[in-house]
Symmetry: C2
Amino acid sequence: MTNNIYWTGIRAFVAVAEHGSFTLAAEALGSSKASLSQQVTNLEKNLGIQLLYRTTRQLRLTPQGEGYFKRAQAAVIQLQTAADWATQDAQALSGDIRVNSVGGVIGEELIAPLLIKFQQQHTGINIQLDFSSPKVDLLNSEYDLVVRMGAMPDSTLVARPLKTITTRYVASPEYIKTHEAISQPDDLKNQSLIYGSIREWRFSKGKKISSINVQQGFHISNGRVMREAALAGLGIARLADIYVTEDLNQGLLIELFSDWDIHQTPLHLVCPPARYQLNRVRALSDWLINGVAQ
Amino acid sequence: MTNNIYWTGIRAFVAVAEHGSFTLAAEALGSSKASLSQQVTNLEKNLGIQLLYRTTRQLRLTPQGEGYFKRAQAAVIQLQTAADWATQDAQALSGDIRVNSVGGVIGEELIAPLLIKFQQQHTGINIQLDFSSPKVDLLNSEYDLVVRMGAMPDSTLVARPLKTITTRYVASPEYIKTHEAISQPDDLKNQSLIYGSIREWRFSKGKKISSINVQQGFHISNGRVMREAALAGLGIARLADIYVTEDLNQGLLIELFSDWDIHQTPLHLVCPPARYQLNRVRALSDWLINGVAQ
DNA sequence: AAAGATTGTTATAAAATGACGAACAATATC
DNA sequence: GATATTGTTCGTCATTTTATAACAATCTTT
């Protein structure tokens, strides 16, 4: 239990697993591949298990190696964070903050401007903003802060609600005039639909439930284009409210099924727990939550 | 940012902070105090901050040292857990599990029997059971599993609901006969009360709220003795239901204020996230939750 | 108040560990 | 089948870590 920890081996293994190659890892660490090779071997001996399948040309983690990697990497990140925390300046905020956000209007018009303003106010801080890649493994991620839609499954993360997104079904007045009446979701079957990544449209009204599986129509995974399509009278679109509130107010679009239950999706600000303890990260969190609330 | 991690210094510092002494830490690590002294000094140089106040006779963590210690220790535990996870036998469960539970009937009659049965079924497992010390710092604790009453504040922990404890106010039939009628909490002011650690008794009934601050009566921080006192007709006791359900069924005790809102406290099974990933810990968790539900 | 014991620090030498470069074996690519 | 690239092995060297012992500072004891 009080087994000695073979530190350098861990660092070597984590680096190799991160880079997927001894050569790259050696480069990144400023060390030699020979050294890394030996250390990973030693770590394997130390643990008594195999961590990597290695054929000279391909490197793959064993199942155990996979699990060990995730955990060890998290620990290494935590150690870095610990040092970061201890050395941070309590007064002035400084250092790097890496943010990942969903793209589209949310990222570009909601998040980005707030980040810019924050950076202007804290010249010691360096913000890096990336827009969402399909899967971001948050626990071991390279990000300090992630803006995500939907409920958070992983309970070990610090998740703060940022905003509530309401789903709306909209079409242009022209479209509605020129097509047969739409009063309930079932009527959608004969309509022209504009859909993005979500193909199953679910509706509820008290205990009444209705669901449509969108198969054909205009498909584009981009909210702005979907809005354009709806404005052009191409059909009925399912969109987050922030895309269309203006249009609805101006009467350029008309909302359908407004008498049905409102479907809301939370927008969360998520953070690995260790990172959340850094002053600068918490300050930016507060800033974002404050800024969005306005 | 990619600051090199001074591993050995971290191990030394964590051990010293844990033991509160260089000498003890050296003994525990099987190393020399001279070595530790130097490494902690090096770590401090490496971080550029002071971690310990040291007068030859007394050792104290600096504020920064305190924070750094908690985080670094968590990381070290995580690394140990990672090795533990990787080397665990996927088939047979084995290893140590350290459990901390609230005492009293819950610990002795609810938890302990289940642990015993579990251990009997898994001879490779070694269970250590301690009853609750007032404050157990779970994140950095030496426990794998903790049974706790009340809501869990720390969101970074895995907390599974185990049971719901209902608070009941009881007295013996004799007591009730021989004292003036009690129909609502305010009547308690003229009564003889048996109280434990909780001195403020709060009641609600819809929007009506009543609260009593117990100042005198019989004080004993032990549920069993409180029950005995109530049975003996000493007065009115505030007790968890599991102490008195039998007595209530048999008519040895009578419940008061049953028409008021029921106050329930959750009993949780709490676990540091890293530890929860170990087969044996998860197996015991499931076993407990399953066993209690019966 | 002074001696004694115990604590953390320093200094120096010995041991262990890590690091590098070159030669090597294995494999994917051309 | 030749070539380039990858990971491994080996011998050597540099660095780090460790231990022993002497030392200074403090608390305890008498």
